[in-house]
Symmetry: C2
Subunit: 468 residues, 2 copies
């Protein structure tokens, strides 16, 4: 019914993406180049993501804190690779309080440096380690080719920062975040079958010794980096003199990690699950799981609809009433655009027979359900919808993933999907060559799907693709 | 026991405040002048406040959204009073992405202007009204005399922004936020007996036609503005061409409101409830309501303590285990400093007799409680502690509030507390005179404690005080 509301994704995927964002009222472009206004429905999705991610991060032992937006320019320059990586993207405050600042303040592009400075203060001995912090904040990286949610000059994210007594402990924590926090969040809440791997040296975070990544396949076969977890070695500890007294009373530098996920995940969600009719929101993070719609008021319809909303809310379902007086068809299209998993349509005719209609956004189709069976039908729908979304995405990922052996084959496969190719056949030179066609090594994996501990392990495969 | 850990508040209140913040590990000064690092325990208190406030704001019908950090300089200048009020405090980004910006971007000091721009886009007709938005964000106002939590160059807050079809509707919503969201939050969650009133023209928000305020009395008798709700008339609607089609098909300007509370409330909490031993956190927003302490491990003590934590967590109490191997006395002082309402001390001797010791931070004293009675004793303690904190603060407020009739008496009373004086005896001139001694009219109230609808109503009283 909403065929002509948005551009079909098969016709023009970028245009479809923009249409969905606009018509589902997710976001708008901000007034300053590359910035974004996140509208209430888009923000409600982000809030659901935040809550679920925050629970997982806290379960991993990290505590939330907040560090300043402004970082002295001199901090950035202390870690050579870091400043080189971020310099072109920095926004700088030169004037404040009516005066020129003595030292310009950089608007944080990420907080390794300022957090490094404070961790160094707070860490005295091995008893203070590990120190596990996380921050929910806005960061700024100037974008030349901004795209809503995917690349914006300001975005919202969480950034975890931890310090450890040993390299091994830091390595295991970065891995824990990657495999036990990010991956399960993306699979279980976002219904996305992400591929886990390690980045090549070329693709690593500026200042990291190792970067682990979760890569998602979008509806057009391109890849999106959904979250990364970095081992920073002793690079930042050295730059900020973060040392500690060991049990044997010696001074040693700490080992640090950092890890982040952002509002970019909202873009990933749209492009992974959206279809011709708009967005499809996975039930576990849907701000509105069920929309109870008054088809036409009168004959106790409004009352019955409110009763169903209350029953669902009591059962812990995020339900909302739609009793607006605009045309029902238009409201239904709007609910489809917004990707609300389940609609309960309450009309006078059905109600007279003691039933309502349940319309499914993800499975599709409509069924008549007796009033007494609504709560159960909704619960069943939400749980099968999650699995269906995941299965859809997994099927696409498998169908578009090609195993190849040469760079030419890899480039060909990357035109429509992802290729896996032995890393030994690519190497830094092959990687540079692929980059000329805007194809990147998304990550390195082992044949069994696990994450290699180094680039040099036998059998390491490169996953190559075009990417957002 | 912690007498010598911090400066007594009666000796040097500002020093005591700093000591509490440092020793309870609430916050640190940031590296850029006036900025603040909120440490995990301070942030956990803020998170509890946020959650409770967010629930209340959502119940008032407002939806969260997110608007950009950077505002084009030209937006600020559109509302004359607004730009005049904020100009001296602005931080300005002049360089970004390696270039000088064509138009400098202001780091938001508040978001009336940018939100005004987007509301104007989104509002077409009376059907789109009221539009009720809220944003959780960081804002920047350059501070010459920064003080942690109270006045920092960057702070965290929520800012609500709403648009209405009529002046009356806007007035009622600003009042609803003031009386039904902010005041009950401060009284029921923060245990603070705030005084509600309206600001004088001199003290109004820049661009507002009316500002409503919640004022709290601190431990030294000074006032702290804890939250404000503004009627903005049509000032911002006019500046941003926010008009709408009425039911009778005419174009009219909308009426807007804005309202905010910030991390400043953490400062208010400290100064309202703190005492010689440190912080006292109201149970409803205490991140740790109960600390279950292993006095000395062995003989099943650790196990019993963990069992109590689990039992309390199951009962919905925010309980934490303290089984660190530092000296018990030191840990107890730390828990007092942090203001944790209840400690359950589990030691081998008590445990052998089937009991534990409950130590109360707010009521004071220790009691021996049989193991089976812990959950009930904790529940009782938390509920009476809230009332006790409120009663303490109310008693101080009443004791230090003096009714006077002349400016000289008002100035004298304001040396140690608050004075109420007929507004007719003060007026703008008296207000200016008091300001010379750093005494301000905190708000105007009616004798029955309600909020006057204008300065000119009969019997209007001015509450005057020194303030943070």
């Amino acid at each position: 019914m909403s065929k002509h509301v948005i551009t079909p994704p098969g016709e023009d995927f970028p245009r479809w993406y923009q249409d969905v964002i606009q018509k589902a009222e997710l976001a708008d472009n901000g007034p300053v180049r590359g910035t974004m206004v996140i509208r209430p429905y888009g923000y409600a999705i982000w809030e659901q993501m935040q809550q679920a991610m925050d629970r997982r991060i806290k379960a991993a032992g990290a505590k939330n804190a907040y560090f300043p937006l402004f970082i002295p320019e001199s901090y950035l320059t202390r870690e050579a690779e870091h400043v080189e990586g971020f310099s072109p993207e920095l926004a700088v405050v030169t004037h404040a309080g009516g005066k020129t600042l003595e030292e310009p303040a950089v608007v944080r592009p990420t907080s390794e440096t300022v957090i490094g400075e404070y961790m160094a203060k707070w860490i005295q001995s091995y008893r203070d380690l590990p120190l596990l912090l996380n921050q929910w904040a806005n960061v700024v990286r100037w974008e030349l080719r901004p795209r809503l949610f995917l690349r914006t000059s300001e975005f919202l994210w969480q950034e975890g920062h931890t310090a450890h007594a040993t390299e091994e402990d830091a390595r295991l924590y970065a891995k824990h975040i990657h495999e036990e926090v990010y991956a399960p969040f993306m699979r279980n809440e976002l219904a996305m079958p992400v591929v886990l791997g390690r980045k090549t040296a070329r693709e690593r975070f500026a200042g990291a010794t190792n970067t682990l990544t979760c890569e998602g396949m979008m509806g057009d076969g391109k890849a999106l980096q959904m979250g990364t977890s970095h081992e920073l070695g002793q690079n930042f500890a050295r730059a900020f003199e973060m040392d500690f007294l060991t049990e044997s009373n010696e001074r040693e530098l700490a080992w640090t990690t950092s890890w982040g996920t952002s509002t970019r995940m909202v873009g990933g969600l749209i492009m992974c699950h959206g279809d011709d009719a708009g967005l499809r929101v996975p039930p576990k993070i849907a701000p509105i799981q069920v929309l109870v719609m008054v088809v036409k008021d009168g004959d106790g319809v409004g009352e019955a609809a409110r009763g169903i909303v209350d029953e669902l809310l009591d059962a812990g379902v995020r339900a909302e009433l739609d009793d607006r007086d605009t045309a029902f068809g238009r409201r239904a299209v709007d609910a489809e655009l917004k990707g609300i998993p389940v609609r309960v349509e309450v009309g006078p005719r059905d109600l007279a027979e003691g039933s309502v209609t349940i319309a499914r956004r993800i499975a599709g189709g409509k069924t008549s359900v007796p009033l007494a069976g609504v709560a159960q039908a909704v619960a069943d729908a939400l749980s099968t919808d999650h699995d269906a979304l995941y299965a859809d995405a997994l099927q696409r990922r498998d169908a578009r993933m090609t195993s190849v052996t040469t760079l030419d084959e890899a480039a060909e496969a990357a035109a429509t999907g992802w290729a896996t190719i032995p890393w030994a056949s690519v190497g830094p030179e092959g990687e540079a060559k692929l980059a000329e066609s805007a194809i990147t090594v998304r990550c390195l994996v082992l044949p069994d799907g696990s994450v290699p501990r180094s680039e040099d392990e036998d059998d390491v495969l490169a996953v190559v693709a075009r990417a957002y």
